[in-house]
């Protein structure tokens, strides 16, 4: 068992310290790079906190959509299920009017929202980040 503080906590405090103490000292032409570094640390910290719970939930949801038994062997299973799901969408299996259409869309919304919680939660809260 690891000692605390662990990855997410370490990244969070590193990012905060970087933003507060280093960023203001940098010349203007380095600020963009510095903000990217801080942003990458923030995403990584959020991902450390979320990954386990989301994987199991997504496997269960995809198994149900695709009509197969729920296999719980982690990321390998999730990748395979997503490949099957993607192929089924392309083939029209979830087209408008089909039984599972709404359920598939709901799953996609959930999956996207879960990833947004990690990479850009402001999109879901309706307060978008700048970009460019």
């Amino acid at each position: 068992m690891r000692d605390n503080p662990q990855a997410d906590d370490l990244l969070q405090i590193a990012e905060t310290t970087f933003r507060q103490e280093i960023l203001p000292l940098l010349p203007t032409d380095k600020k963009y790079t510095a903000l990217m570094i801080a942003n990458a640390m923030r995403i990584a910290a959020r991902q450390f906190g979320c990954i386990e719970s989301n994987t199991a939930v997504e496997i269960a949801a995809l198994s149900e959509l695709l009509g197969g038994p729920a296999v719980d062997d982690g990321l390998g299973a999730l990748l395979n299920l997503n490949k099957q799901f993607a192929a089924a969408i392309r083939s029209g299996a979830f087209a408008s009017g089909k039984d599972a259409h709404d359920k598939a869309r709901e799953h996609l919304f959930t999956s996207v929202q879960n990833r947004l919680v990690e990479v850009n939660p402001k999109v879901i809260s309706g307060d978008r980040n700048d970009r460019g």
């Binding site: 032409d29 963009y32 790079t33 990217m36 570094i37 942003n39 990458a40 995403i43 990748l79 997503n82 490949k83 799901f85 993607a86 969408i89 392309r90 029209g92 979830f94 087209a95 408008s96 259409h101 598939a104 869309r105 996609l108 919304f109 999956s111 996207v112 929202q113 990833r115 947004l116 990479v119 850009n120 999109v123 879901i124 978008r128 980040n129 700048d130 970009r131 460019g132």
Partner: protein
């Protein structure tokens, strides 16, 4: 590599040039695909403020060569589009190791996040949006069939389905499955509009961030490397897409103003009414295209070919675009 001697030698080799002095030469920031150099020169005793444009290390397979881009600058300039005046082109790599062209430098900023926050830009939001609509109509006045632009890609079987096929191929070339993008592509395939009666010159990257503007006026439309023949609504959808409003989502015309200002400028010059409902289709396509580009850029980092923090972070823009795609296709129905 010091490109200064190469530029001097190239200019001295031109018939009309007797004396050259480079007074400033600096690489400008930005430009993952192209490099832009600020270049101040005195030619035959006359000072010129210019930009030299050449290839960066990485290039996208579907972007135009500098020589082709130069021809488009010339054609656009002749058609009345506000573009920096193209001055010289070297297709030869002997001077600075790669082809380049030199154009007059225009004043202002292209920084999207600054433009959308400043009410005074371009003479005010309404004026700027209207002007951008006019500019786009001038671009679309260049119709398919012009011999000088023979090299431009012509989409088949239709502009919409051409993209669907292209983006599916991009998904197939990537290791990670993308169910939401597949969802969007299925919708784009099922709802694809018919071919247009006349293909026009599409800029294909006409958006805030790709034009120069001062507080007085728009000074230049930039970044023509994706230009191709297409459906005029492609550019309108790309300009209005939520992903190119730089956070100012309420200003649906490029984060600058309301759509009606932009459409009014376009309609006044083109004489063509913008089909409001049809634009939505091309906004879904815009989110899809940006998602595919972001995915490819991320893959360049992930594969180890080009380790880059910027490319790595660009990959994480994809979920936001997926969210837009799901919302828009739900709103439009028929998915």
């Amino acid at each position: 590599m010091d490109i200064r001697p190469g530029i001097e030698n190239y200019l001295l080799d031109l018939d009309e040039v007797n004396t050259v002095e480079i007074t400033d030469l600096r690489l400008l920031s930005g430009g993952a695909i192209q490099q832009n150099w600020l270049l101040d020169i005195t030619v035959n005793g006359t000072s010129l403020e210019t930009v030299l444009r050449t290839d960066a290390v990485s290039s996208l397979e579907d972007s135009l060569s500098r020589a082709q881009e130069y021809v488009i600058f010339k054609e656009a300039f002749s058609a009345g589009v506000t573009v920096p005046e193209p001055l010289w082109l070297s297709v030869d790599s002997q001077w600075i190791g790669k082809p380049f062209f030199i154009m007059r430098r225009v004043a202002g900023t292209a920084a999207g996040h600054k433009i959308v926050r400043n009410d005074a830009m371009g003479g005010g939001r309404k004026v700027l949006a209207n002007r951008l609509g006019q500019e786009l109509a001038h671009i679309h006045s260049i119709k398919h069939g012009q011999a000088e632009l023979d090299f431009l890609r012509r989409p088949t079987p239709t502009p919409a389905l051409h993209r669907v096929v292209e983006y599916r191929a991009a998904l197939d070339a990537s290791d990670m499955p993308q169910p939401t993008l597949e969802w969007g592509l299925y919708w784009l395939e099922q709802n694809a509009p018919n071919a247009v009666s006349e293909l026009v010159l599409c800029h294909n990257d006409f958006r805030t961030g790709n034009y120069m503007v001062t507080e007085q006026s728009l000074t230049g439309i930039l970044d023509w490397e994706f230009a191709a023949w297409g459906d005029p609504l492609v550019d309108i959808g790309w300009f209005c897409a939520k992903c190119w409003r730089f956070g100012a989502v309420q200003n649906e015309a490029g984060g600058v103003s309301v759509r009606t200002d932009f459409y009014a400028g376009y309609e006044a010059v083109s004489g063509v009414q913008v089909d409001r409902d049809a634009v939505l289709y091309w906004e879904v396509m815009a989110a899809m295209r940006w998602a595919i580009i972001a995915m490819k850029q991320g893959d360049r980092h992930i594969s180890g070919r080009e380790p880059s923090l910027e490319l790595a972070l660009t990959r994480h823009i994809v979920p936001e675009l997926e969210y837009d795609i799901l919302q828009m296709t739900q709103e439009a129905g028929n998915a």
